[in-house]
Symmetry: C2
Subunit: 329 residues, 2 copies
Amino acid sequence: MPAVRSRALAHRRAPYAAGVRTSPTVTLLSGGGGGAKLAQGLARVVDDLTVVVNTGDDAVLYGLSVSPDLDTVMYTLAGLVDPRAGWGIDGDTHATLEAMARLGEDTWFSLGDRDLATHILRTARLHAGAPLSEVTAQLCAALGVRARLLPMTDDRVATQVDVADGRLGFQEYFVGRRHRDEVLGVVLDGIELARPAPGVLAALTEADMVVIGPSNPFVSIGPILAVPGVREALAGTQAHRAAVSPIVGGQALKGPAAAMLAALGHEVSAVGVARLYAGLLDVLVIDEQDRLLAPAVEALGMSVVVTQTVLGGPEDRERLARELLDAAS
Amino acid sequence: MPAVRSRALAHRRAPYAAGVRTSPTVTLLSGGGGGAKLAQGLARVVDDLTVVVNTGDDAVLYGLSVSPDLDTVMYTLAGLVDPRAGWGIDGDTHATLEAMARLGEDTWFSLGDRDLATHILRTARLHAGAPLSEVTAQLCAALGVRARLLPMTDDRVATQVDVADGRLGFQEYFVGRRHRDEVLGVVLDGIELARPAPGVLAALTEADMVVIGPSNPFVSIGPILAVPGVREALAGTQAHRAAVSPIVGGQALKGPAAAMLAALGHEVSAVGVARLYAGLLDVLVIDEQDRLLAPAVEALGMSVVVTQTVLGGPEDRERLARELLDAAS
């Protein structure tokens, strides 16, 4: 059995331990929904937060460059996100999309009017030659987001999903077909040539703590880890490393994570998640419902924190963020 | 004094004269506002109407390909245009533009949410390689526009305006600075390499009647005539050729046409307009206010029709269209 690593933040970061910093430097790896909620919780308790976000599900829709996970995290941190949907802008209208439908366009991918402003500006700036990381920083600054959002890469990576009748673009699988197809495999087109966006590797190696959010291990976290250099940086960092299991009671809170685990031959549980991240984690946070799985997770070489991981509103998200910090110190 | 040409439609088009056609084939050259109103009038009385539209004031705004004159004609013919502004879509909202402003963009050029659908789809299809003429036909078909709208060219032509402090893009001059600068010259960047869009030359040579709309002679009609081959086709066509003066009582009904005539050394009157179109017209339609100018216009080698040219609603536009057809037959 591998030794359980335990690296308390206070023991290695003198400035933090000495009180010069009021909170540790934290880097979160995130997809959309669950990761965005945790990002919001962390942003309430951490001064220096970097969120490295999956861009494998970015797509060109109606000619516009759409970055769903970046936008979900950005809108959530800006307090703009539609709380019911978990994505998009609260109270947004759809005049443009309706007009596009009247013009004969198949408007299968819903984009609100205010949300479109983000995509229009992003597209224009990318076409003008700005990298996605720079455009993201501009958008976040304009929206008053203090956390640093980094796309995993400025290069094009397209997550594709193999299903019974062929290979689908991620949004076609996820939105177009409502992730009903059994997933036979995940392909990350372009990943070999992708370079981590500026700041990504440093955010992993120089943080006090790295958190893998409760996002889909295959299509949210998987692409981030697959960017050449990222997995190695996470494996070798001195940061305390924690993940929050996206599987609770054998089910995904949202989306196809559970179905993907099953279809791709993994145990549909926090233990299955722990195996996917083995060697990359010091701690896995699992839900109280999964308390009995703790020994099996610990056997994989990581500590376990058992808590309430099904997140409610901002206070609940902050509570989980504090528990993560407590586990590391 | 040149001979006044008078070519009655009924004398040269046997099918029309014999009643096989219920109305003549008409081609209108048009910019935005006044031309669009006349297009609507013609569309109510002519079965086979082609409108060749200026694209010199097309611009890329917020990364989107905007064709103001094409859209004004299209929206007017579709019954969608904002009747007060004379452009844009009636009742349109501005959620996207307001959100773009919140994202830090200088939103100096107003685009409504429904209008944006047009620009987004146009941009996507142009990027995919479709020519503007094809995209325009698709948009018109979707909006139920029966008249055939043709951009003057599928190639890029950018109207630029020389003013005291330099050369401005047309929209910067027209919208950004509200056409307040004195115009020292008009430049049509790219015009030498522009080819008439498919159907443009045939629409001039094969029509029973060609009408130059009451649009700005320099920045609306001028670019169309400057596309290589267009002026020659109009000079040589057997069609009856009429124009409606955009100058009434020494003033432009809207926009900078009068100021441009003066600044560029032309008489600010229907006579000045007639001189610009000399050799291209059989008839100039002038307003009742300018009745006394008729002899001076006739001296330039064209007939004159005096009528009410300040257009009100659709019935008034139809009335002018009928008078144009009457003048040709």
